[in-house]
């Protein structure tokens, strides 16, 4: 999995103005904080330019990457051997997650990754069984700052859902 190469290409997209900003999310971001587990793709949450086409929000990204030889495959774009899924921020939570993401260095490549408190909140919001399992992993590894998590949950109307499900994550 040549993530380094994929991140270089994505940084190029920011430099060329195709996207405003991005942060790694999804399973790969979770793996940054907890133990590794199987995942097929690299999820990239993006801030699109204000002029984006609301009917085809990813058209410019696809065009840019296809011109450089990267091929679409199902819902992904293959950058080298890495299936990348671009997800425009779609609500206040994902918007804040990208805005407040943290800068990291991956094998010499600067990149950004969503913070654990936002990842856990996004997983709670989506609420699939695998998301709940991953939340339990975050809590077991003590990868979240509880106070920061509570603030995010309350800010985005997820506090009640958290208290209703908390036992699942801690038992």
């Amino acid at each position: 999995m040549q993530v380094r190469n994929a991140l270089e290409v994505i940084n190029g997209m920011v430099a060329d103005g195709v996207i405003l900003d991005y942060a790694i999310g999804g399973a790969i971001a979770a793996i940054y904080y907890v133990e590794p587990f199987f995942t097929a793709d690299l999820d990239i949450f993006v801030h699109l330019k204000p002029t984006w086409n609301s009917l085809m929000p990813l058209s410019e990204i696809y065009e840019y990457l296809q011109q450089r030889g990267h091929k679409p495959s199902h819902e992904f774009l293959l950058i080298g051997d890495v299936p990348v899924q671009f997800l425009p921020v779609f609500d206040d939570l994902s918007n804040e997650a990208v805005e407040m993401s943290q800068a990291i260095d991956f094998e010499g490549i600067p990149t950004r990754i969503i913070k654990p408190e936002h990842l856990v909140s996004m997983m709670l919001k989506v609420g699939r069984p695998k998301d709940y399992l991953r939340i339990a992993m975050f809590l077991e590894c003590k990868a979240v700052n509880k106070r920061a998590l509570n603030a995010v949950l309350k800010r985005h109307g997820l506090w009640e859902k958290w208290t209703a499900n908390e036992k699942r994550f801690t038992s």
Partner: protein, 66 residues
């Protein structure tokens, strides 16, 4: 609550292993993800043996009909 020391020790060992993996550098973790993906690809290549043939495959050669 009943006490199961053997199960407890396995549980604790597994938890310690998970925490060890969680503490690895990100690039090392991604290498493990790559290995898992390769394993997944190999398993996907395995084909399902139709039920009748499966039974035949299970029989030992000594008892298989000629």
């Amino acid at each position: 609550m009943r006490n199961f020391p053997k199960i407890d020790s396995i549980w604790k060992a597994k938890k310690a292993e998970r925490l060890r993996l969680a503490a690895l550098p990100f690039s090392e973790k991604l290498k493990i993800v790559g290995q898992l993906q390769e394993l997944h690809k190999q398993m996907k290549r395995a084909t399902i043996i139709p039920q009748g043939k499966k039974r035949a495959a299970r029989r030992s050669p000594s008892v298989s009909p000629k």
